[in-house]
């Protein structure tokens, strides 16, 4: 009994030392393969532009991942960099740098954090959590406990009606293990599809400081997106077909809706097995060919094709019409 106690004490100490060592090693980028208990990222909110298929250059806001605060060596992208944490990681920290003209922040829907909302003088909530002011001299830090593996959406928590649709969103994923989406749910290939939209009128107004009370565009109430995005890009029929592996293999597709509209990803050629919603696995997975993906939702599905050929996922809400306006992804399954 005494020996056991001593053993466990020493093993606790050992784990502590190890984890400190791993965190240190990880922060020095010496051991990228190590499994850190805490995963830290340096994110920067910044402005960028994206060119649509019709030539329209749309002002966007996005996140970039820098190597350290102030270095600004990352590329701003919409959606933002994917945060893929390892299965042992229990805490995520984002050090935020803000190059936007207004305060911003980052929240991860479904992960627990200590939230300290910021209010306007009249009491209305402006930010779900503490803000990072523009041009902050030191990083402002955000931390989350990760209690369960799954697919999560991160986004701006400040003035979200504007900032989220400007492009401040991205995905955080944690696997349950190697090629394991959730306990008992193995997969062979993986895809991640973030749905969102762009209303260029609002983007132009925000970029020109013409958005807000008393300005040209007063709010997002007339939101009427002209572009539908998957992973930040409109679908073109010339886009390459994704390789989904072979017949009988499991393709894991993580669906996230970072937009303001409802989307309905519909699979043609097979049923999908919906295994989880908002990072919570279902007790009984659902067999569907069409899934409802409201704003803010994440769904994980497994597709196990029985036949070779091309499979399409179409947003059956059919929001827009014209070249580059259909929301689709195609997968090729080999024999």
């Amino acid at each position: 009994m005494e020996t056991k106690f001593r053993k466990s004490k020493s093993s606790v100490l050992f784990i502590l030392v190890l984890s400190v060592l791993f965190v240190w090693l990880d922060s020095c980028n010496l051991r990228p393969g190590a499994c850190p208990e805490v995963a830290e990222y340096y994110f920067r909110a910044d402005a960028t532009t994206q060119t649509m298929p019709d030539g329209k250059v749309v002002p966007m806001w996005g996140f970039a991942q820098d190597s350290e605060f102030g270095k600004m060596d990352g590329t701003v992208s919409v959606p933002g960099p994917q945060i893929a944490i390892q299965s042992c990681t229990q805490k995520v920290i984002v050090h935020l740098d803000n190059n936007l003209p207004e305060p911003t922040s980052i929240v991860i829907n479904g992960l627990t954090a200590q939230m300290t909302p910021v209010r306007y003088p009249d009491g209305r909530v402006r930010s779900f959590t503490h803000e990072t002011p523009p041009g902050n001299p030191v990083s402002v830090n955000y931390g989350w406990q990760v209690a369960r593996p799954g697919t999560y959406l991160y986004q701006s928590g400040t003035h979200p009606a504007v900032q989220v649709q400007m492009g401040l969103y991205g995905a955080l994923i944690q696997e349950a293990g190697q090629k394991l989406a959730y306990p008992g749910q193995e997969y062979d290939k993986e895809g991640l599809l973030i749905f969102s939209e762009i209303d260029p009128v609002i983007h132009d107004a925000v970029a020109a400081d013409n958005f807000g009370a008393g300005k040209a565009v007063t709010s997002a109430i007339d939101y009427a997106p002209q572009y539908m995005l998957v992973n930040g890009k409109p679908f073109m029929s010339t886009d390459p077909v994704n390789n989904a592996g072979n017949v009988g293999q499991h393709l894991l597709v993580r669906f996230l809706n970072a937009g303001l509209l409802t989307h309905a990803p519909t699979l043609y050629g097979a049923h999908m097995t919906v295994i989880a919603e908002d990072a919570h696995p279902y007790n009984y997975p659902k067999q569907l060919s069409s899934a409802l993906l409201p704003a803010g939702k994440t769904l994980d599905v497994l597709i196990t094709p029985a036949f070779p050929g091309q499979y399409a996922i179409l947003d059956r809400m059919l929001h827009l019409y014209g070249p580059g306006k259909t929301v689709m992804q195609r997968y090729l399954v080999n024999p």
């Binding site: 043609y268 067999q287 569907l288 060919s289 069409s290 036949f307 059919l318 259909t326």
Partner: protein
């Protein structure tokens, strides 16, 4: 001329006319309350035409049709048997390419036509494209155009596919899916501005970001035409109705199809339905377990592209009174809810001089019974049944171009046991 006259008569008159015809027992196909064509080979084409809406509107529409027959909205309901090798030969009479895709079907092989984004498509007069698949799983499905789907689906190119199970009157080869009557409820919507632009050659001006539907349909008809007869002469492009009728105690199967581009919460007003399947798959915890994950809902909202099957039953249970107005010693009616047998009606009926009658009130609160109706009231309830309004729970969808009542709505009629249905 006849069509004009018929359009001019009120929808109430149309309904009485339709119900009178139905009560006479015109239809064939016992127990099946929806219309369609049987396979396994279908020769279809795409053409245009004008559909009618009950407030007098006329909307330019593209649709699938049986070759040589008028354009249909929705396209023909394709009825096949489980295991059938289904062959669909599609030609095209429109000056743009078209195609068909079949969500929920596996291994659809295609020949002819030219490659499109989702599947092969066919141009006007260019022969046929042929789709072949094995209807491996029973259930309720849909098909629609896979070419420019946002525009072509809006313009009307959708339809239903029903795969019958090997077990008669079991939708999914399991007793949990057993039914004695079945009806179809296929939902769509239309923005008439888009149809006008397309009709007048200004399709390039269509802006879907400003989409604003003004018509909502069940099986291609707006209420109250949903309750008119199938194949009515005044609706040549909208042959399908949606007029569910049943006797107490029967099991009605609802084949629900979300074929448009929006969400339409389907509300079985005053009652629940047991949703046993979605997208052609029984809601089961394990293969063969039956519908043990079925959901008891009073509104079911499907994503576009989705389908559901629900079992609906009505006995008068939980009303707390005898729907036949029996005395305790009277014999039971078939499938009567026995615990309420002989329980008195809990309301003292007001003097008819103090009331007005609803159109569906027979003059008596009891099923199959008639009573005094004030002069001038219209009796639309010929068999003294109970009427329940089934409709989209987005209430604004119960209009025809802003005129109430209409849109995505119909009536369920609980018929007295003595009334012959079909």
């Amino acid at each position: 001329m006849i069509i004009k006259i018929l359009r001019a008569v009120s929808w109430k008159t149309k309904l009485v006319f339709a119900l009178a015809l139905m009560t006479c027992g015109l239809a064939a196909n016992a127990h099946t309350g929806f219309q369609g064509i049987t396979g396994p080979t279908f020769n279809l084409t795409v053409k245009d035409g004008y559909i009618s809406t009950p407030e007098g509107g006329s909307i330019y529409t593209w649709g699938y049709a049986v070759q040589g027959q008028p354009m249909q909205y929705p396209g023909p309901t394709l009825i096949v048997n489980q295991g059938d090798v289904v062959t669909i030969n599609l030609t095209n009479e429109m000056p743009f390419p078209v195609s068909m895709v079949f969500p929920g079907q596996e291994n659809v092989s295609v020949s002819g036509g030219s490659p499109g984004v989702m599947t092969n498509q066919i141009s006007q007069g260019a022969g046929a494209v042929t789709y072949v698949f094995t209807a491996a799983n029973p259930g309720t499905y849909q098909y629609h155009s896979g070419t420019n789907p946002a525009l072509q689906v809006e313009m009307g190119m959708v339809g239903a596919l029903v795969v019958r199970s090997a077990t008669p009157h079991q939708a999914y080869n399991h007793p949990d899916s057993a039914y004695s009557r079945e009806y179809m409820f296929l939902f769509t919507e239309m923005d008439p501005v888009i149809h006008e632009l397309v009709e007048t050659g200004r399709a390039s001006l269509v802006d879907f970001s400003k989409y604003r539907a003004a018509y909502w349909f069940i099986n291609g008809r707006c209420s109250p035409d949903t309750m008119a007869m199938p194949n009515d002469s005044w609706l040549p492009h909208q042959p399908y109705n949606a007029m569910p009728r049943m006797h107490p105690g029967e099991k009605m199967l609802l084949r629900i199809i979300s074929a448009g581009r929006d969400l339409h919460p389907w509300h079985t007003h005053g009652n629940h339905m047991l949703v046993i399947a979605k997208d052609g798959r029984l809601l089961e915890s394990a293969p063969g377990a039956g519908a043990d994950l079925a959901e008891l809902n009073f509104a079911v909202t499907l994503p576009p592209g989705g389908t559901a099957d629900a079992i609906f039953q009505w006995t008068g249970e939980k009303l707390g009174w005898d729907v036949y107005g029996h005395s305790p010693g009277d014999p039971l009616q078939p499938n009567e809810y026995a615990p309420d047998h002989g329980k008195p009606f809990p309301v003292v009926l007001p003097d008819p001089k103090d009331t007005t009658s609803g159109a569906f009130y027979s003059g008596s609160p009891f099923l199959g019974a008639y009573g005094f109706i004030p002069p001038g009231s219209s009796l639309m309830n010929l068999s003294a049944g109970y009427f329940y309004m089934w409709h989209s729970h987005k209430e604004r969808e119960m209009v025809n171009n802003n005129i109430f009542p209409g849109g995505l709505m119909t009536m369920l009629i609980i018929e007295p046991p003595s009334v012959v249905i079909e």
